[in-house]
Symmetry: C2
Subunit: 486 residues, 2 copies
Amino acid sequence: HWTPRLNSHHVSPHLLDLLPAKNGEEPTIQFLLEIVDILTNYVKKTFDRSTKVLDFHHPHQLLEGMEGFNLELSDQPESLEQILVDCRDTLKYGVRTGHPRFFNQLSSGLDIIGLAGEWLTSTANTNMFTYEIAPVFVLMEQLTLKKMREMIGWAGGEGDGLFSPGGAISNMYSVMMARYKYFPEVKTKGMSAAPRLVLFTSEHVRDTGRVIPADLEAKIIDAKQKGYVPLFVNATAGSTVYGAFDPINEIADICEKYNLWLHVDGAWGGGLLMSRKHRHKLAGVERANSVTWNPHKMMGVPLQCSAILVREKGILAGCNSMCAGYLFQPDKQYDVNYDTGDKAIQCGRHVDIFKFWLMWKAKGTIGFEQHIDKCLDLSQYLYNKIKNREGYQMVFDGVPQHTNVCFWYIPPSLRSMPDSEERREKLHRVAPKIKAMMMESGTTMVGYQPQGKNVNFFRMVVSNLAVTQSDIDFLIDEIERLGQDL
Amino acid sequence: HWTPRLNSHHVSPHLLDLLPAKNGEEPTIQFLLEIVDILTNYVKKTFDRSTKVLDFHHPHQLLEGMEGFNLELSDQPESLEQILVDCRDTLKYGVRTGHPRFFNQLSSGLDIIGLAGEWLTSTANTNMFTYEIAPVFVLMEQLTLKKMREMIGWAGGEGDGLFSPGGAISNMYSVMMARYKYFPEVKTKGMSAAPRLVLFTSEHVRDTGRVIPADLEAKIIDAKQKGYVPLFVNATAGSTVYGAFDPINEIADICEKYNLWLHVDGAWGGGLLMSRKHRHKLAGVERANSVTWNPHKMMGVPLQCSAILVREKGILAGCNSMCAGYLFQPDKQYDVNYDTGDKAIQCGRHVDIFKFWLMWKAKGTIGFEQHIDKCLDLSQYLYNKIKNREGYQMVFDGVPQHTNVCFWYIPPSLRSMPDSEERREKLHRVAPKIKAMMMESGTTMVGYQPQGKNVNFFRMVVSNLAVTQSDIDFLIDEIERLGQDL
């Protein structure tokens, strides 16, 4: 039960009394401290394993209003006390993605330094448009991107890059740069200035989900014979479901042979570059023309934090700059090469760099390495635990390359049933049923999906440094508890 | 001078000791409270007019390290004390975009409720991918978008929409939807499946920067005669420099006549829909097929917060959904229509809704109306103050439609000089010189730019509720102080 802790003579009833803060400094700061109290309590509980991961309700239940939690907006303002209650309720009915037993997404965890970085970023409330309004953040972005390019292996960390709102948009940048590199006239004349371009990315996969180089080459030749123009190959470094790494060196050979742009989508797997033990899985990445790498996935940086990195200098600006004099003035008193906004397809751009920069300062490169190595060790622990355990079947053979462990849980009722369409249909329904029960009991969350001819299976991933072996054990116990009678 | 306030026996030297918080709860919370202390001090000073807007340094100065502020990243971790110092320095050398005398960008101000909303959002650290992991935020997005569609005037608030990372990306969604509406085969067959499409947006403008409908129609006819296919017209509601509103009803007539998609880019001007006094400037917006509206601009919501709204239901999903079974499972226990992620071009999507929803709760619709009306009143105050003042010349005639007031300051040395190329060149250099001096003295910031044949002029905008008439007076005094001897 919520008790107002503000002294009533300090509390302004409405938002408008908070501003300007100079005339209402005390209530403003009091209100922020009340919010911080709510948030620090949430942080404490998030890491407490006796707290549930979520308190599940259906959409119609939340829309009808839970214990007075009213989502509807109105013409009239609410009191600050009610705003505090709304904040508590928002957290109460949400999902604790930082909980050590939340394994549902590639992004998880709640890094305290990253969190502090986000709080500071929102307090600074500026944008990455120009050096003029974001001098420190613009420089942090440049220095951090250079470090990332060094990790990729580009000589001297040379090249260019940007932080973008996510992996899909980073990948879009790579396609735009490739098109500009080979057909720059598209920028001014449109797509009709280019021939029919073809992009290649993995869909046909072998058992582990990796691209087959010979198959890729055959498809390139086939496209050319049909009169199309192959432009771009995407090599996935850490696929979403299997965590598979495409063989970059073999693909790079093909790209060189046919003069194609090589992009490495390391949104999920890029973080492994920080680990001396695991970076070999991206061998050849230095041969890529561009790389997507999302620190908000494997490296535990709060959302959003995704980088597009490119080897050739100048191409990012060449591709995207509009040289709009009304946005970027050349006659400023400082070096306007630091006005990076014209490289972006966005005008305003959120400051995604600071939390990452601050985490790197706080952990050092070796801290990220420890993070990566620990998460991969935990996945190996899970793999070893279940690979020969009764009631489990792995989706693909061999040790996982990333933290992805894909498996079926086979309830006792299906264990002796011979393979058949009926059994497959039954097995297909097992993971969704267990997942629904997990969510309703609120104890843990893990993803499932079908893939190709494989019926629904669990995909376990670990990217949260707070996870321990006991949490892995808990997940397996929970699957067995919920699934034994299916 | 910074004094460590953490008790040394509570302080862990490094980040790794903060996690998991369960075992290091005290230092974790202590660290967060230290951060909050830094941030609340920053908030207080931001609203204190005796504080500078910025403490300007050139890029090379910051890169060399100011008083020990080292931007470089290293292999080894830093102590938590140093992290706190880094946070202070980051704010110290940044720009106070919430300061009542910062007028440099369309986004300004520091709304305390919005700030609290961002702090909560980053603590929740989830993404808008599915109802499963963001149940409350997904519903808030739906309800808020519906309210925005009601403000636009679409019957019953029907339609669809999304929050995107910014106005440029919202506008891109509109182009993609228009293309899908008329040429759906582009989704599967590529651009070669469509004819040569033409988009229209204002470049040829009259004095106030508004589109001339007859000119638009002539250009559409011309494009058709050349064999192109007109697809899309963008009507700008609040242009960046002049704050001009295109005549939407007249443009809508033309779009209906030629069967074109009408998009209204209200990134800057959309906020005026909240004001009964000013919404007539967007008359006809309900006839648009899609609307971009950035609450992070005129409505003072922290960055990033931009919405794309569309009148026709189903087209957003139709255009963007990939139905990837590995991302969106149809066999969940809840109504998966709430899994909005498949409508977006992104996979992970930052939670931009909460701060806006919380501000709407706290202010009510009438609070936003007061915000809009106050900012436009202040611009009118500026306009009235300088329109006949010696040494000022307005860039366009008449009362500004938005908060944009565009003007030249003419130093005494140029006032009696007859119009000539020499005078124009001299005048062109005035605004950059004054701006550079403003930044170096740190007292205020306002934007300038050339536009078409107009040499550099100042563009004043107001979107921060903390601004008062005295701040407008200050700006004019400061321009005259810095510019009188030029």
